[in-house]
């Protein structure tokens, strides 16, 4: 019984850990793109603002 539990735990442990890394890797990729996009649109906005001010 203990042996069965061990093998099951091992399977769940490996699956769970890899799934977690996969999900957070996805977050990393999405977040990097999202932050880059939001800061770029931010700086575009501020440059437009500057243009208007100088006009």
């Amino acid at each position: 019984m203990s042996n069965v539990n061990f093998l099951l735990a091992l399977k769940i442990g490996i699956t769970g850990y890899l799934a977690l890394i996969g999900i957070l890797l996805l977050f990393y990729i999405l977040l990097t793109g999202f932050v880059k996009f939001s800061t770029r649109s931010d700086s575009n906005g501020s440059e437009k603002g500057k243009g208007k001010a100088s006009e």
Binding site: S2, N5, F6, L8, A9, L10, I12, G13, I14, T15, G16, Y17, A19, L20, I21, I23, L24, L25, L26, F27, Y28, L30, L31, T32, F34, V35, S38, T39, D42
Partner: protein, 375 residues
């Protein structure tokens, strides 16, 4: 007269030992400041429930059940999972995800440093625990009290006392547990790796969208984590939206304080002598340390693995900050970095990894519930 002495005559050695355990928890909470907000209510409740015939917990008298207030707290707060979820609103309102948004790569350490959860679960089965108990013990490695209570409350209610005590105690012991593991796995040169400060400033819109986006994506991938991640991120949205400042403040203070008291008292109600004074309690306390050691090792080794592919190397100590013990772990890593090189400033990166660990631990809890729940 006999009725007034019943309690004294019924006092067993187990009761006396547990009253001592309760007093010890109160002592370390006050003198060492180990998570006093939780350990004082748990300690006091432990004393209260180990008084024979205590009216604070359910008692059968003459074939009639007399309900005790602590048992009622336990039923309405822990069994229904309401208390840990409400605590998550408070935690979310307290967390600033800015450092993580500025350093997104830290997200990876929030996953890597959950290694202890899964490794400890495997070790626990070798000590004779069944798979659900093992998952509940492994979750101590989330270094996250509410997640530990949430998972253990679902899978192993009878182990809730020792698991909660281990989770909260070891979170306080992070400054003692982590440094030797980090030093054993890194060279001095690695610990001296400097991390360049970033000038990237995350705007308000990104901060508002982040909790909503994380909730949607995480819940779609792991629906069993929806309540956990949702309440955490809801609290963060209260903080970041900018139009609910008084509610955000209430969540961070009054809500957190009230639920913490109720949570502590409820958990203490499970610490009766017959449940706590067993060899398995010692195993659980031991496995708690194992979980924190594995977490730290997992984070550090993952950072070293990443460094094999990166041109700009990451200080591997940051991997250890991926556990969810916030902000304790970030502070420990920052101080270790300054010790090796006083000009090295790791704090913002470490905080980024630390708050990523908060998300990682909650997701790990959801993944465990999904994988183990149907067995």
């Amino acid at each position: 007269m006999q009725e007034l002495l019943n309690g004294i005559f019924a006092l067993s050695i187990g009761n006396v030992v547990m009253i001592g355990v309760g007093a010890f928890l109160i002592y370390i909470a006050i003198s060492k400041e180990y998570e006093p907000a939780l350990l004082i209510p748990i300690g006091f409740s432990t004393i209260l429930v180990n008084i024979p015939f205590s009216s604070a917990i359910d008692q059968w008298m003459g074939g009639v059940l007399h309900r005790g207030v602590l048992s009622i707290f336990f039923d309405i707060g822990i069994i229904t999972e309401i208390f840990p979820l409400l605590i998550f609103i408070a935690v979310g309102a307290m967390i600033d995800f800015g450092p993580l948004l500025e350093h997104p790569i830290m997200f990876l350490f929030g996953a890597a440093a959950q290694f202890g959860i899964f490794a400890t679960m495997v070790v626990a089965t070798l000590l004779g625990f069944d798979i659900k108990q093992a998952a509940s013990i492994g979750i101590i490695g989330s270094a996250d009290g509410p997640t530990s209570i949430y998972v253990a409350g679902r899978f192993a209610k009878d182990l809730l006392g020792p698991i909660s005590v281990a989770a909260y105690s070891y979170m306080s012991l992070v400054p003692i547990i982590q440094p030797p593991v980090i030093k054993a796995l890194t060279t001095r040169e690695e610990r001296r790796i400097k991390m360049a400060p970033k000038s990237l400033k995350v705007n308000k819109t990104a901060r508002i969208i982040f909790p909503i986006l994380v909730t949607i994506i995480a819940s779609l991938i792991a629906p069993s984590a929806a309540a956990l991640i949702g309440f955490l991120m809801f609290g963060n949205l209260l903080r970041e939206c900018g139009v609910l400042n008084s509610i955000s403040k209430t969540a961070q203070t009054e809500l957190a304080n009230i639920i913490t008291i109720l949570l502590g008292l409820s958990i203490g109600s499970t610490m009766t002598a017959d449940k706590f004074l067993q060899p398995r309690t010692l195993y659980i306390l031991l496995l708690g340390v194992v979980a924190f050691v594995f977490d730290t090792a997992g984070g550090v080794l993952f950072a070293k693995f990443l460094n094999l592919f990166l041109r700009n190397k990451i200080n591997p100590m940051l991997g250890a900050a991926g556990i969810s013990a916030f902000p304790m772990s970030a502070r420990v890593i920052h101080q270790l970095g300054r010790k090796e090189d006083p000009t090295n400033y790791l704090l913002m990166y470490a905080v980024g990894a630390n708050v990523a660990g908060q998300i990682g631990s909650v997701l790990a809890g959801g993944i465990l519930i999904a994988l183990v729940g149907n067995l």
